[in-house]
Subunit: 379 residues, 2 copies
Amino acid sequence: MNVRPAASVGDPVERIDTPALVINLDAMQRNLAAMAGFARDHGLALRPHAKMHKSAVLARLQIAAGAVGVCVQKLSEAEALGAAGVTDIYISNEIVDAGKLQRLAALAGRIQLALAVDSVLGVERLAHALHAAGTMADVLVEVDVGQGRCGVAPAAAGALAHQVVAHGLRFAGLQAYHGRAQHLRSAGAREAAIEHAVTLVRAAQAGITSAGMRCPLVTGGGTGSFVFEAVSGVYGELQCGSYLFMDRDYADNEPAFEGPRFEHALFVKSQVMSRGASHAVVDAGHKAHAIDSGLPRVWQPHGRGALEFGNGGDEHGILRPGAHASAADLPQLGQTVWLVPGHCDPTVNLHAHYIAVRGGLAHGVVEAVWPIDARGCLA
Amino acid sequence: MNVRPAASVGDPVERIDTPALVINLDAMQRNLAAMAGFARDHGLALRPHAKMHKSAVLARLQIAAGAVGVCVQKLSEAEALGAAGVTDIYISNEIVDAGKLQRLAALAGRIQLALAVDSVLGVERLAHALHAAGTMADVLVEVDVGQGRCGVAPAAAGALAHQVVAHGLRFAGLQAYHGRAQHLRSAGAREAAIEHAVTLVRAAQAGITSAGMRCPLVTGGGTGSFVFEAVSGVYGELQCGSYLFMDRDYADNEPAFEGPRFEHALFVKSQVMSRGASHAVVDAGHKAHAIDSGLPRVWQPHGRGALEFGNGGDEHGILRPGAHASAADLPQLGQTVWLVPGHCDPTVNLHAHYIAVRGGLAHGVVEAVWPIDARGCLA
């Protein structure tokens, strides 16, 4: 509400106030093109997960590059992005609250909308809300393919799909995302996890066929695993989100054997605001970057001596020299320090704006300031 | 920007949309009164830390109960709360950026403002900005009393205080907060840490006296340690913030031997949106509660069988039966689950509104919906 943007269009990078969430546009556009090209080359639909960037501008860039629409996790995200002009949104998550489903049914009158289900109660309430509003939404049955969170067992998918149709709704396919597979460090382990997921998807598909129905689509895949879903022969749509920004946690993965490589494109700009003899303190703590997947990494593209980022609490980060550096490598009071967030999704959610820079972090210029439309849209 | 409040004034608790940040007003007001009474009884000023609640309404409630003003950590927090009517704000943190100091000097023309310093550069730049604007601010020298983050060594405090005065600024005292002491679980360990801090404060005071100056105030103390600062004889002002809401992490401390006890007054209301045979999934993940100090605790005041909260990622929480419970104790699809956040400060920062409930979580009514004015004010 009271958050002023950290910069204005045309500002040089050094004038961006700190801490700020900064996009390296050149890197981001290479990531955008690489993922779009991969999906196209494999004959797959791409529906990037907008829970990651929460931005209508970025959703539209993805769609302009070939994406069929976007995913979100929450109704309020769909409402915010829908209000900002995104017209094809899939809520890849369950909603059972009657009040929320009433809002969903209203939104379905304005945009192309889809929702995942994993319970008969969810199907009943969704049908009730849509019928009352006189609107329609696509319905995907979520199958638990290894995440151990939401979704039905493969053997139950056919019966639930049947319920969808029996309630007068459109059965659009299977939601089959394996979140736990995304950050298995070894590429082989991720491949094995997705091979197992594919086995479970095939079992769910068989159940649907037995129930006399067809399964129009299997959708899933993330930035850590999409290469494996892509070659599975069962997935028709990829949901990757983080590829656009590449956070520290994804970069720590051993890359897949084939497939595109992505660059870091999202940074937190911070400033040294206190200096000790053997440490420097920057003005970005975990109110500026989420630490659920570990601390950020100090961005040192020219390897000037590894600085280690230490947890300094909500508003501070503590830099110390790494194994191959000394106190002389620490930045001085007032200097800029660029951080690569541990996990992009919840980091983005902490900020009100993207500061989009063209021409690199060292000498670039602010090309755009974009609101993070669905920031804080939790419900 | 696009976040709609989860409820309206007059709504019963069951109608609050999820996830939502809910204040139990009755409990909060008991906490408010207990802390105000403690400070009054000990003849100490209370300047609660508004980095925790980021709310002008709550700051004004604290001031009405006797607080002299509030602390914040960031200039943008001071700007947001100042714009919302809070007139006495201490930024208990360093700022060395010239652009920020220019804004600070402007704000100092509108409200009573104070800032901490720990470098000559910081003093020089602050003086330059204030003199250019023709405004004044109180300046406190931060001493590192055990946190190992910002602040000068005690032996350097006198020289820096002298610099403050030499630059035509008002030296208002010492900032001496020991953040690391707050969550030492044993009360004895916290007492020992503050005893050591007090020794360091005395050394800093001696340096100031040697420099021919007096030290008007020592300010510090947090919810985990204030009882020990209060009896030290050196602290004149307490900065506690979390006492108002009491999070899980503070509740896990062994209580101090004496001093008030605080109740949980801040909750995340969540809803079960998926059910497995041996787990339930709620719609609140770490975009709805910060996990830097650990996961939230499921609020089970009547001990109906301990449910364990497991990390379900950004948008989900996974409930499993604890050691003394079984799957039969799991809540059903659609049921409400109240969570006590692990750490209140960064949890509050994730939300756009407080939903303030009178009459308890079970049968209460929404009395107020308050904006979280300084949410996302990072700079």
